[in-house]
Amino acid sequence: MIAGEPMDKMRRGELIRLVTSPLAGSKIAAAKEFGIDLTLLVRMLELTPTERLQKLASAQAFFQALRAAKKTSTHE
């Protein structure tokens, strides 16, 4: 998956089934129990590694903007 090839419909369906009804005792089931949003992981796996890092950079920019806004409102 990390090679960056697009995910086909069959693979996506397989992953959706896996995360909605994980095998008891599997790591996927443990992650679900832990509170991880597994559908978000499937969404991430649909992206290429570059797109995943771009998403991360967008999140960084968003958090940075939030912090800057908080600082500004604190100083007002």
Binding site: K27, A30, K32, L38, P49, T50
Partner: protein
């Protein structure tokens, strides 16, 4: 904000031998946990230290964990004297690891990496197996927190092999 593309370009253009590890590697594998720096494991032979120091020099690298008024110059000699460095540069934060917990040096880390196309650059990225090994070895609460997600991602890589 970290400019991952520029950092990777700088390292690749200078032909630095490195493996992307840490949060950026986890994100490349699909992790949803945010990170604010680029962690790399670098080869510690003298030529690579020269290339690494030269590549970062234009971006004014300085240590994050010492006061600003302490003089520091990143060159091959300084890299040789230490092992792991947490740096701030003009293009973002970059952490350099000569050794990775639970894995070893560059050679071992490289052996556990996958070649990945990142922004059109062919980069070595630590595998999920490697990330999991490292997080287990480090075992700080923040590392243990991401383990369930990494283990789920590893299982999702090969769904046919998901086992209880």
């Amino acid at each position: 904000m970290n400019d991952f593309l520029q950092m990777l370009e700088v390292l690749c253009d200078a032909q630095v031998s490195f493996v992307v590890i840490g949060g950026a590697a986890a994100a490349a594998h699909g992790s949803t946990y945010p990170t604010y720096d680029l962690d790399i494991c670098y080869e510690r032979d003298r030529d690579n230290l020269e290339r690494l120091a030269k590549a970062l020099a234009p971006f004014h690298p300085r240590l994050r964990d010492v006061p600003d008024d302490l003089p520091f110059h990143l060159d091959a000699g300084a890299l040789e004297q230490g092992m792991n460095f947490t740096l701030t540069t003009d293009i973002g934060e970059i952490d350099l690891f000569g050794e990775v917990a639970g894995i070893g040096g560059y050679k071992e880390t490289s052996a556990l990496s996958d070649p990945v196309d990142l922004f059109g650059l062919r980069c070595a990225v630590l595998s999920l197996e490697g990330l999991i090994r490292c997080k287990r070895a480090t075992a700080r609460p923040k590392d243990l927190l991401v383990l369930p997600e990494l283990e789920a991602l590893r299982e999702m890589e090969t769904p046919g092999q998901a086992k209880p």
